[in-house]
């Protein structure tokens, strides 16, 4: 009987592990990357452009652009990143970002070294990520 009770208690813990929050269950194009297009081949220097619906910077907040790294989770604050850990993170008010040089990625398969990705998320005025909305693109850079 004790085992059954323990199993039921464990089962009830499952939702707690899952937690709750402002989750996105349907795909949204609220933030959309315009250039480069997904899976495009581009030359350097390059400019990343995007658009966001129902959001205007700096009135509503700013954008955080993550190049070759994963963004923070919804609700997290950009200030949580230590200064030395901000490589590849750009916080901007405009809807574009100009990159002069993307260096080949280290520690990956040689065929994948020039394969990059970019993620754009929205931050509120306090620097916290708004929801799970994100624009994302993968592209290959011709060296």
């Amino acid at each position: 009987m004790q085992r059954v009770r323990a199993s039921i208690a464990l089962l009830l813990l499952v939702p707690l592990l899952a937690g709750c929050g402002p989750y996105l269950f349907r795909q949204s194009d609220r933030v959309q990357i315009l250039t480069p297009q997904n899976f495009a081949t581009v030359h350097q220097p390059l400019t990343i452009r995007w658009q966001a619906a129902d959001f205007s910077a700096p009135h509503d907040g700013r954008f955080a652009v993550f190049v070759d790294r994963d963004p923070m989770s919804a609700g997290s604050n950009i200030a949580d990143y230590a200064p030395q850990d901000r490589r590849g993170i750009y916080v901007v008010e405009a809807t574009s970002l100009h990159l002069n040089l993307l260096t080949p990625l280290a520690g990956v398969d040689p065929a994948e070294q020039n394969h990059h990705d970019v993620t754009v998320v929205m931050l509120d005025r306090g620097g916290a990520r708004i929801g799970e909305y994100a624009g994302f693109a993968e592209f290959t850079v011709v060296q």
Binding site: S7, L11, V14, P15, L17, A18, G19, C20, G21, Y23, L24, F25, R26, Q27, S28, F39, D70, P71, M72, S73, A74, S76, A111, T119, E132, A134, F136
Partner: protein, 741 residues
């Protein structure tokens, strides 16, 4: 064996019955020898069975794959959504696989005592379905990891429970086909799951959270289909049938009275696992699985790179490619089902040979796929390869699980999973990881194929043992029923009955078909030359060694594979050869160690120690002296004191007189006689016949691992051809066996 020996009466009768029931027993286990296979549906109708169990378990096997597929396919989206590193996503996949593999073992242990496989199958399915659903709500990496592990751990039931449950849900005439249908469902899961993800993301435009929610909800609904799953009982269609057949004959002879069964000593998890690993077919199949795991796990990874580099396939096309290959597998498994059934019924050995050939053909197809100049030819070759590997699984599983006792099948299935995914998969990833950097993708796949050939060789070697192992399983069941019948007929079963024991130290066999019995309160001598196997036989009786064949029964109950420490409470105690003492400890400390069997009852321990000192006053004088400083005779006294403390029912004494002066030997033997007079059965192993035969009235003589004499001690004395080697010179003429005690 000597004609008219007491051992022969019971054992010969059991062996005769085993031979009589041999063919019948094989037929009950599904090996009828026929090559004709009845139609599937007709056979189902004949047994008034439906497809519910196989469909329900098949559906559970499909939804089991939802979580992992959704996770792997949407890894980048999950990583971006939760802000967790991609390395963690990959790590969680490995941990989930590890949890799945390892959890199969405790899940097998959870069903070993009672038939509750149906309950375990449906409850775990409900848990993993909820875990999939709640993954849609995770807030961070910890929650994700916990749910992945929960999913993996509960999925262990698919490995440990599903197939054993199916085997007991359908008659043996459908066995290979039912396993094939179930595995076709499983393969279908590999097609359906990624397509379901594609549908939810591409058509219904769900995010990764939405996908988990939809797939989890679907999984919960489908798992409700399994709510009517019930455990039909262990071995319902094979062991039970065989028991009924044996029992039917004997019950008819006894007017239908079944009588009480002897107290059963149910094997525990590690005892069952160890017992399984002693079966030659099981060992070979597990080895084949381990090597196959080394092949299959890296093969898929390397082939992904091959598809990308050689054929330029993007991720979505690669997913479609693997879905197509899995569809190929489903078709091939279903096509082979009838042929597998025919082979299983006619000869499991042929089934294993075909499995080895098909697996080898699969390896050749992978090699061909690497060299194909056209894409569709490459697809066909790879599809044939993976289809061949899929076909091998039901063939091997139906043969492999059939030679194992029904209650041990969950353990056997779990061990197969551990060897395939754990030893093979993880070991292969470690051993073969990084090959592509050195040899390129094609070179890596070729290397993996080379390893795979050994798997086919191992499978092929299993065919040499499978018939014998099947007969052994049949023999065990028949023996249990026959002994029960003997009991009912009022036959007196010996306290200890060893039947047909084989034992090997590694490759060196030292016991050959040994039959040996001891009655209540009896003292028997076990004589033989040095290296004859006397001490080994004692080790098998006390549980320190496990036989590769045969049985050991104590008061009618099977204790062949019971751990030594579980035999102690039954009353079996051994005084090992040499000096059975711990030299650095004092006398009283040694006695306390012997009293381990009493547990924490300190008063009982002290009472036992007092009785030992009363029997051996010389030990009392040296109670705090280090045992290493005692004389040889005193050390043997201490060893014998173990018997006084543990109060055994059967005392096994190995070479008590070795290296001692005759006066000391006389004193020790007087103590042994006293112990025996108190009602304790004693087996006295001696190289020196003139010592042993003065005490006993029944003797066994062993030579080269076989019992050469089983009869009255007085008769053995006359057999100078046997005992010449074990008499001390000039002592034979003084021998006079003691009266029976």
């Amino acid at each position: 064996m000597t004609v008219g020996s007491r051992t022969g009466d019971i054992i010969v009768e059991v062996e005769r019955d085993q031979q009589r029931h041999g063919a019948e027993g094989r037929a009950a286990m599904g090996v009828t020898g026929e090559t004709r296979v009845e139609g599937f549906l007709r056979e189902l109708r004949r047994h008034r069975l439906g497809l519910y169990a196989v469909i329900a378990l098949g559906l559970l096997a499909i939804v089991d794959q939802f979580q992992l597929n959704a996770y792997v396919i949407q890894g980048p989206e999950i990583s971006r959504g939760l802000g967790v590193p991609r390395g963690l996503i990959a790590l969680l996949v490995s941990l989930q696989g590890l949890a799945l593999t390892l959890a199969a073992l405790p899940i097998a242990a959870s069903v070993e005592g009672a038939p509750r496989r149906g309950l375990v199958a449906k409850s775990t399915a409900l848990v993993w379905s909820l875990a999939t659903l709640f993954t849609g709500f995770v807030a961070n990496g910890f929650g994700l990891g916990a749910l992945m592990l929960l999913d993996g751990a509960t999925s262990g039931s698919v490995i440990a429970v599903h197939q054993p449950l199916l085997l007991d849900s359908y008659p043996t005439s459908l066995r290979a086909r039912i396993v094939s249908i179930y595995l076709a469902f499983y393969q279908a899961g590999a097609v359906i799951s990624p397509l379901f993800v594609a549908l939810l993301t591409g058509v219904f435009l769900l995010t990764w959270r939405g996908v988990f929610l939809a797939m989890g909800g679907t999984a919960v609904l489908i798992s409700l289909v399994g709510l009517r799953l019930r455990d039909p009982g262990f071995g319902r269609y094979d062991e039970q049938r065989l028991r009924d057949s044996v029992r039917g004959e004997t019950a008819a002879a006894n007017g239908g009275d079944q009588g009480p069964r002897p107290e059963e000593h149910r094997l525990r998890f590690f005892e069952i696992s160890r017992r399984l690993l002693m079966i030659p077919t099981v060992r070979r199949v597990l080895l084949a699985y381990a090597i196959l795991g080394m092949l299959l796990v890296p093969l898929n990874s390397y082939f992904v790179f091959f598809l990308e580099q050689r054929w330029g396939l993007p991720p979505d096309r690669r997913a479609l490619f693997f879905a197509g290959v899995s569809a190929f597998s489903v078709a091939m498994v279903l096509l082979f089902a009838r042929r597998g059934e025919r082979l299983f019924r006619s000869s499991p050995a042929r089934l294993f040979r075909l499995a080895a050939i098909v697996q080898f053909a699969g390896l050749c197809c992978v090699g061909a796929a690497l060299l194909m100049p056209a894409f569709w030819a490459m697809f066909a070759a790879f599809g044939l390869a993976i289809g061949s590997f899929a076909v091998v699984t039901p063939m091997v599983q139906s043969g492999f699980l059939s030679i194992v006792r029904a209650q041990m099948r969950p353990h056997a299935a779990a061990l197969a999973g551990v060897f395939l995914y754990g030893v093979g998969g993880i070991g292969g990833s470690i051993a073969l990881g990084g090959l592509d950097v050195r040899y390129g993708v094609v070179g890596s796949v070729a290397a993996v194929l080379g390893v795979g050939i050994f798997s086919s060789i191992a499978l092929n070697s299993a065919r040499r043992h499978v018939d014998r192992d099947l007969d052994r399983t049949v023999g065990e069941v028949v023996e249990e029923e026959e002994l029960q019948a003997l009991r009912r007929r009022g036959a007196r079963l010996p306290m200890l009955a060893c039947r047909n024991l084989d034992f090997s130290y590694g490759q060196l066999q030292v016991l050959f078909g040994v039959d040996f019995t001891v009655d209540d309160g009896e003292m028997v001598a076990l004589l033989g030359t040095n290296g004859a196997g006397k001490s080994t036989l004692l080790r098998v009786v006390s549980g320190l060694g496990l036989p590769s064949r045969g049985s050991v029964r104590f008061r009618g109950a099977d204790i062949t594979y019971l751990d030594a420490e579980r035999r102690l409470p039954l009353g079996i105690t051994q005084v090992p050869g040499g000096r059975a003492v711990f030299g650095p400890l004092s006398v009283v400390e040694n006695l306390r160690v012997y009293a381990y069997g009493y547990g924490r009852d300190r008063r009982e321990v002290e009472r036992g120690i007092d009785s030992a000192f009363a029997a051996f006053p010389r030990l009392a004088e040296r109670r705090n002296q280090a045992v290493a400083t005692l004389s040889g005779g005193e050390q043997q006294m201490l060893g014998l004191a173990k018997a006084l403390i543990l109060k055994p029912r059967l005392l096994l004494i190995d070479e008590l007189s070795l290296g001692l002066a005759p006066k000391i030997v006389g004193e020790l033997m007087a103590t042994v006689r006293t112990i025996n007079r108190a009602g304790v059965a004693v087996v006295l192993v001696e190289q020196s016949a003139n010592v042993a035969l003065t005490l006993v009235d029944h003797a066994y003589f062993m030579e080269r691992g076989q019992i050469r004499f089983d009869g009255r001690a007085a008769d053995l004395v006359q057999r100078t051809d046997l005992v010449r080697s074990v008499f001390l010179e000039g002592a034979g003429s003084t021998l006079s066996p003691a009266p029976a005690t």
